[in-house]
Symmetry: C2
Subunit: 438 residues, 2 copies
């Protein structure tokens, strides 16, 4: 008998028993825009999969659906422990990702690959569009009688997945945005010449979750009690209200820090400014919300204004990421692999908040039909009456998500990130150099 | 006899002897745009000044020339040890700064304040414009026979001060820009859908020192060997050359990362794009270099392009700052105070590079007339033939400056910065609320 017989027994059944497990291979893929913790989830999947003898090969699909449809797989069990460990803090999507618009007509080709490679476990890390694909795959497997378990893992900086309390990736982007907002506020505060309006544009095409998170920068009761104004797509943006708010702030402060979602819209529902260009999914490319606000301030108030557009750095700044977000992302990967072995399928891993003080979560599964394609809106109750500030109830929700600092290793003064050996080879196969094609 | 009699004796003379020292008060001020280490210099001045009994009061001028001309001083000896220690990692200018255009006509008013407060040591932390002011002050003191020592301390993210090997503030902005460029590159690399051009706009009105520093992001021999193109104001920017370069990069890479100085100019010497607005010093406000490149890529190459504009975050990102830069900034403050006590005046502290491997510096003084108003250009020899990449000689120069990571304390998930108690009071005096004026 061991010291902890129950626990010991439990571990034995998990690792050795795997009752109801399928014998075969596991395929994991990453989808959509990366987050700084999407690779922490991948590491969790790999590390847990290694515990289960029923899983023979652990494959990663190179570049998401591209690799899935073409059979371009990376043998993850061949990667070094150093690399798998390095995934925990490496931004980008280590397997590669894509924005391919999957259609039901692709299912036959996909299952040719899955069946020929004896994939019995399929784990897909992505947002609400990706969960829809997991659902299609899961349903199709059942329909054709192919024994395979498909599990979705939440991943989005936008925090717009429903059912789960929050999504891995969100806490880290908010930590970075709040840190940056606080640092810009201190710089603004220290310039004593003039009224100054600083505008920080953050991501958020349809929802204000990220911009709202900048409220964590506020250092109440000090001159750094900024941002003063936060604009999100959920509330129509009115030029005149904005200008009046800036003037009101500048009555009692020498600077005004504004955080604005890239996707703010006017009362007619149109983006305040766009480039007019469409992305590969046919969506209007955004950009220019900060410039729109800047031109209003300079044109109508004749006040100096400066802009910062954090762009892609928001979702790739692993050097300023949340340890809690990282831990939860890793655990979501672990739970996905373990759940699949234990018989879960057609479901997405969820984070369930069990308490706020102390903060505590558990992990669960929810049927894909409850999440696929659905959007979690920023609650109207968390926007204050002015429409330009976030309530303290949101503060309680978001504060726990940014706790702890990931200790990214630096080498030569810059962060050291890892690259999957298999990804290099897969890239050479998948992407022929244009110079060779000619 | 102590264990190290010579060193012991030296410390005694420094602290106790102060031969040739003036009895009186010290005034330190910060000028121009902040850096993340301008407060480390301030901490060095205060900590060293406390060692010298000839210095009675240690004052900081609130908001630079505003406080100097109005006599709004902060009593730095009253600040807690906790606050002085916290200055080492706090961005912004803790004393406050300004962009006031000082004129010789202000000298009389300034000396009324200096003499009435018995200021015998004046230390000014700033760029080349500020060093010019130190020179005017030093010369005027001599002219009127007022015994006072004036020392300048270099401070600029732009690294454009002459004589000194480099300027405090530069290493940290380069560390942050290189870190961010590497993180964006990993994100770009992981998207497998399409050719992608990522454009990062950094500061640099007249010089490319900051943009050039992004070369430290390159991870040679990997798919993260980016940025691929770097554009600096020292070379005329030609649209057609840029487009051809992007096309060349995309022959063998799926993405192209471009770093561009905000101040790039075309062959006629005009900024490629500006807001048309003037700042308080009458300089044209920049902004739009990245958008100019983006519109070229999208219009002529029909390739997706996305922009990041780091803005003020570059000079305030203490959370990603260089320990070496911080140590050197601190030491420059120490040397300024010690030098003044020891009889130096009318000079600026310089950093002298004694060796590259191992990297080693000493500190010196240079007459202000050698630095005031002069600009260190980015050496033409460090730009490669294409005009869009930086040579390895520059790499050897800049790499030592970003070594080591400042361990900024976080509280509640965001960095904890300090505020001078005296700055709060000074602000209340200096800046009357507009609502009270009416």
């Amino acid at each position: 008998m061991g010291l902890l017989p129950g626990r010991h027994f439990f571990i034995c059944t998990t690792i050795m028993g795997d009752e109801g497990a399928l014998e075969g291979n596991l395929l994991v893929a990453q989808s959509g825009g990366p987050t700084v913790v999407i690779n922490a989830t991948l590491a969790g999947v790999v590390q847990e999969a290694l515990n289960h003898p029923c899983i023979e090969e652990i494959y990663g699909a190179a570049y998401g659906l591209r690799g899935m449809l073409s059979g371009s797989f990376i043998d993850l069990a061949q990667e070094s422990q150093h690399v798998i460990r390095g995934l925990r803090h490496t931004p980008g999507a280590a397997l590669g990702s894509c924005r391919y618009r999957f259609q039901e007509a692709d299912l036959a080709a996909l299952f040719d690959v899955l069946q020929s490679r004896n994939i019995r476990y399929f784990i897909y890390i992505g947002g609400n569009g990706s969960q829809h694909i997991v659902r299609l795959v899961s349903d199709h497997a059942k329909k054709i009688g192919y024994g395979m378990r498909a599990i979705g893992v939440p991943k989005t900086i936008d925090n717009d997945l429903v059912v789960t309390d929050h999504s891995p990736g969100y806490g880290s982007v908010v930590k970075y945005v709040a840190t940056t907002a606080r640092e810009i506020a201190i710089d603004d505060q220290s310039m004593g010449d003039y009224d100054l309006v600083s505008i920080v544009e953050v991501m958020g095409r349809d929802s204000g979750w990220i911009a709202a998170g900048s409220v964590l920068a506020r250092h109440m009761g000090t001159p750094f009690d900024a941002p003063h104004l936060i604009y999100i797509p959920e509330r129509p943006f009115r030029d005149s209200e904005f200008l009046a708010s800036v003037q009101r702030i500048l009555e009692s402060n020498r600077y005004c820090l504004v955080v604005v979602s890239e996707g703010i819209r006017n009362e007619a529902g149109d983006y305040v400014r766009t480039s007019g260009i469409k992305d590969p999914l046919g969506r209007t490319e955004l950009g220019g919300a900060a410039e729109h606000l800047q031109s209003l301030v300079e044109q109508y108030l004749k006040i100096k204004s400066r802009t910062t557009k954090l762009g892609i750095s928001q979702r790739s700044a692993a050097h300023c990421s949340s340890q809690r977000d990282n831990d939860e992302a890793h655990q979501c990967g672990v739970r996905a692999a373990r759940g699949a072995v234990n018989g879960e399928s057609g479901k997405m891993v969820t984070i369930v908040r069990e308490g706020d003080s102390p903060y505590c979560v558990s992990y669960g599964f929810t049927p894909l039909e409850d999440v696929a394609g659905k959007v979690k809106e920023f609650p109207a109750a968390w926007i204050d009456e002015s429409g330009s500030m976030i309530s303290s109830n949101f503060f309680r929700y978001v504060a726990p998500l940014i706790q702890g600092e990931v200790n990214v290793p630096f080498k030569g003064g810059v962060p050291e990130y890892v690259l999957l050996d298999g990804a290099k080879k897969a890239e050479e196969n998948l992407f022929r150099r244009k110079s060779e094609i000619r």
